[in-house]
Amino acid sequence: MTNSIPEIEDADCIFVIGSNTTEAHPLIAHRIFKALDKGAKLIVVDPRKTQLAELSHIHARLHFGTDVAFLNGLMYEILENKWHNEPFIAKRTEDFEPFKAAVQNYSPAKASAICGIPSDVMHEIAALYATSKTSTILYTLGITEHTHGVDNVKSLANLALLTGHIGRPSTGVNPLRGQNNVQGACDMGALPNVYPGYQVVSNPGVRSKFERAWGAELSPEVGITIPEMMDGLIEGSVKGMFIFGENSVESDPNTDHVIRALESAEFLVVQDIFLTETAKLAHVVLPGACWAEVEGTFTNTERKVQPVRKAVEPPGQARPNWQIFCDLGGRLGLDLAYCSAEELFDEMAELTPSFTGITYDRLESMELQWPCLSLDHPGTPFLHKDRFSRGKGLFHAIEYRPSEELPDEKYPFVLTTGRRYAHYHTRTMTGRCPSLEREFPGPMAQVHVKDAQKLGLKDGGLLKVTSRRGEVVVPVTLGDVVPEGAIFMDFHFHEANPNRLLGTFLDPVSKTADYKVCAVKLEKG
């Protein structure tokens, strides 16, 4: 997030797009409720009538995957009505002209024909977002999990730059990260192109710094991403795999393909806390300690580094993950003799400028958000105050591209997927919290009442969902949460996992797969 969660409370306008905040980020939704009490205006852009949409002042139910057309239409309106922030654009941004030219192709009439939002509603949203004193954008995977996810994100950045709603409290472009430490895993360099702190592996200066610190020669080549790893296993260019704390079989799209990939590995190691469907395919399974059994830190979606503390001993012979890695490193000829998690943190902070000022001691008494540049630096609640990390904010000219697999005669429905409030991902953890299981015991798809009537479906009845990759049978609830012509499925339950239906359609830049738009056929199950 460019800004912090508590700031949401004081925004004048909150623009939520592609985020089912009340179920996926309940305590951020709580801030939105507080903002509403203080008089904020809420815009929700989502094909589904989510709980938050019910509370919004304007709910734009755009067609699935048409975000770029919608946002360009919005920006056309902003420019047309001179609601853009000229001084900000002149002083803090570049490449405005090519961007402006691209947006000129998206008159409200044209944008509306693509995204389905009437042009007067677009006008209203444009006015509200652009002319409010502080406007904040909140988004989640409804924006990124598309074959044009990067274009969506860039379009949101354009919107903030155009109006100058960035670099001040209660503004910004704020991705709400889904998993407790997905921010931290990125920050720590668990990515194929960067070391900790987003220092790029192909930069010789950076590389030699890490080579000196780690006492090893490092590769200058950018590595491969998860979908490329899976393809590599099948093609034979990848021979071995080590999966630490992920349940790829159930979380990745196109389940059959993933299983085939993992079964092709000459050697597969899985380190986890439960025997997941992924671990069942391994040659060796290593039992790790879980979060309540170790010391360490997580970094939340607002870049705040927070302590994790040991409360109990790991069960049986399970060991803290870092100790397993130290042991393994020794056997592979690498000296990893660490005595504590703190020692690891200190080594990382020394090599990572944005973490230089963060220590375990400081975290005991204060809240710190990176970048934190020295031991007396207070951390950074919001980014881009006087300058952007690259200097000037860059506009991007973005054209709308339709989703890869749209409904057709054979597969006439759009399948979209997401999370439910009581569960988390593949339920490896929440499925073993008896209270949460009782609260939400099984999968439940959502279909529009009118479609259900045509299909002869009853509330709670079974539905067979078929795509080009596979089929799943799932109970349904009827209503108007999803629009006609669509179905929503959660991805928490093994027995009805929509990932079996999804293809592997990737964003060309981020390699993120499309979890939000897939063509399916529905029949009574």
């Binding site: 305590l27 360099g189 991403t225 999966i243």
Partner: protein, 135 residues
């Protein structure tokens, strides 16, 4: 009676709510929302309120497992780690480090992620390390 409260961070979503784990005679019995944390101001959602339950699940893995004749069987740490080290170094030496792929974890701590990517990069000379940031 040994009663302790330990302040920590919720293990589920990216909100990062602060909570206290309550331990009674060695067993986690509940979580309590932290009232001073500016993020969650004394609240937790239904997931955070029940987060302690999975820790003591009888299904937790408690011993290394090795596949023998197609079945996963319990093994000692020594046996498991020496097998992993010998198979991985054989793959590295025969096909090069780029024939290995590593998936790190968005659930694990910063320190564990740091060490894992260091291990891949320094011991295998590959940048084939990723995690599920894309989902």
């Amino acid at each position: 009676m040994d009663y302790q409260t330990i302040r920590t961070t919720c293990p589920f979503c990216g909100c990062g709510c602060q909570m206290w784990l309550v331990r009674l005679d060695g067993e986690l019995i509940q979580t309590i929302p932290d009232k001073c944390a500016p993020m969650n101001e004394g609240k937790l959602c239904i997931k955070g309120l029940n987060a302690h339950e999975f820790v003591q699940s009888p299904e937790r893995l408690t011993q290394p497992l090795i596949r023998k004749k197609g079945r996963l069987e319990e093994a000692s740490w020594e046996e498991a780690l020496s097998l992993v080290a010998s198979r991985l170094s054989a793959i590295r030496d025969q096909y090069g480090g780029d024939s290995m792929a590593f998936l790190s974890s968005a659930r694990a701590t910063n320190e564990e992620n740091y060490l894992f990517q260091k291990l891949c990069r320094a011991a295998f000379r590959t940048n084939n390390v990723d995690h599920c940031a894309r989902l």
